[in-house]
Amino acid sequence: MSLSFVRGLWLALRLELQESVRSRWFILYALVFFGLMALLALTGISESRVLGFTGLSRLLVTYIQITMAVLPLFILVTTARSLVGDREAGNLEYMLSFPVALSQWYWGKFLGRLLLVVLPVVGALLLALVYGALRGHGLPWQHVSLYAGLIAALALCFLGLAFLISSLARSTEVALGVSLAIWLILVALLDLFLLSILIRAQFDPAFIVGLALANPLQTFRTAAMILFDPQLILLGPASYVILDHFGVTGYVVWALAYPALLGLAFAALGFWRFARTDLV
């Protein structure tokens, strides 16, 4: 990677940060995640005990479960209209008239967005640590670090998907519609579809497990669970498949690597498409 490429990448990244940090979506996004953490802390959830979790661990488990549902939706809805929205508004026409390579523009924008979606969520985790320290709770540094990694991997996955959708769609309406449809399918595949497919269609259980492993939301959910419940008692019999084939460490590595690589593959596909069609 040459110095001039990195320089162009940095220019595009900085521009994306400057552009998005003032947008309503980012302000709302940051407010939701910080507000959620503050709300959970203020409601005294860390003092309650459910299935053996209490203190900061209890707070983090609740936060991470809500994050799993909200984060992908936010990323898809706000990012899927990014490129196509810029195209419709005329931003691309002007900005791409400057001598910056398309790859620098696209990947700079991608990295800028990644920072923007990860920082508020991780920032809220750090807020939880501060709160925990003030309340005298034990600080689960390892769990917080792994949660931060899982969130980054999940964000990367859905950001890549959103960039792909945005480069394929010719209007923001289509991009939003497709994003919502994909999110709904993935959420439904968490439990509802999987169980119904398993029971009604009598598929090979390995196929169902494969489907669950391929769903980045399910991967995130199971990995988040495994950090506090290494025996996966909450998951029931399916835990045997995971523990026998992966082990705890293996599954956490899978949950970090798979969504991240999937997101990068989606983003690369999006760039391939973006660079080969009319830009405006």
């Binding site: 521009l15 691309l92 400057f98 910056v100 830009l279």
Partner: protein, 295 residues
């Protein structure tokens, strides 16, 4: 400098540009005119590498890839509608400096000439500026670049008369570079150019060379006496930089390239004009050097 050969662009099998053969030389200042859908913006987008196209575009004899950064480094572009960018003006200016090598001091000087203090608006989001301020920022960025080709899409549409006069002088100072200025109305841009190309349904129907009337600082004084007080007319004259030298009498200076536009404004208020006088002897009307119709 630029040649297009058999340049065509189709959308859904409909030709928006249809086999355009065009040669643009150094110092060509071209008014690109035509109605909506004639193909002006599509031609710009092909030159900027935004579109895939059929045929060829060559820069100094070399045909680059569709979008080539080395070529883009030599083209400065001002769109018809300013993009709704939320970033601060200072950030946009910094991006232009870093990506094109535009001189910051020159940018400040050009902006001041157009009546805009870049420092004063540096922290404001670009999309919160007025239409005229946005246009001034974009024109400033474009003219500060060491470009060989300037592409302006209705560049002066949002500029006040004083800024427009400064803009004309700035264009006159860049006689070395080629320019393409698009407009729906020829009279808006005719005094700025030495060549007129008309597009109609994607084809060149007229390619005229016209007398070059663009000279920096070439201006004439004008005096307008009103029959009676008329606020809208007075405001229009004040916008052109006129002052009320005596009651109901306004005096000001008109850049040579803006005569026709100014006369167009005067004609709208003809019923309240008591007397009108240009201070200097008029120059000979522009003589057309050559005329070539393209079927």
């Amino acid at each position: 400098m630029i040649t297009t050969s058999n340049l065509s662009k189709r959308f859904d099998h409909r030709a928006v540009l249809d086999a355009i053969d065009l040669a643009i030389g150094d110092g060509d200042r071209i008014a690109l005119v035509g109605s909506n859908g004639a193909g002006k913006t599509t031609l710009f987008r092909c030159l900027l590498g935004h579109y895939h196209y059929e045929g060829a575009i060559a820069f100094n004899g070399a045909a680059p890839m569709r979008r080539d950064e080395k070529v883009l480094a030599r083209i400065a572009f001002v769109p018809q509608l300013p993009p709704p960018l939320r970033m601060p003006v200072g950030e946009l200016v910094r991006f232009a400096e870093n990506s094109t090598g535009a001189d910051p001091a020159r940018m400040t000087s050009i902006a001041q000439g157009l009546g805009l203090e870049l420092d004063a608006v540096a922290h404001q989001p670009f999309n919160r500026l007025s239409g005229g301020q946005k246009q001034k920022v974009l024109v400033t960025i474009a003219l500060a670049r060491a470009a060989d080709l300037f592409i302006f899409d209705e560049p002066a549409a949002n500029l006040d008369p004083a800024a427009r006069a400064a803009f004309i002088d700035l264009l006159a100072a860049r006689q070395d570079a080629a320019m393409i200025i698009a407009s729906h109305r020829l009279e808006e841009v005719a005094p700025l150019v030495n060549r007129v190309i008309e597009l109609d349904r994607g084809r060149i129907v007229l390619d005229d060379a016209v007398a070059d009337r663009l000279t920096a600082g070439d201006a004439r004084t004008a005096t307008v006496r009103l029959r009676e007080a008329h606020d809208p007319f007075a405001r229009a004259l004040l916008q052109w930089g006129f002052g009320e030298s005596r009651p109901l009498t306004f005096t000001g200076s008109i850049p040579a390239a803006d005569y026709y536009r100014f006369l167009g404004m005067i004609s709208r208020y003809a019923s309240v004009v008591d007397a009108f006088h240009f201070g200097e002897a008029p120059k000979p009307p522009p003589a057309r050097k050559a005329r070539r119709h393209v079927s």
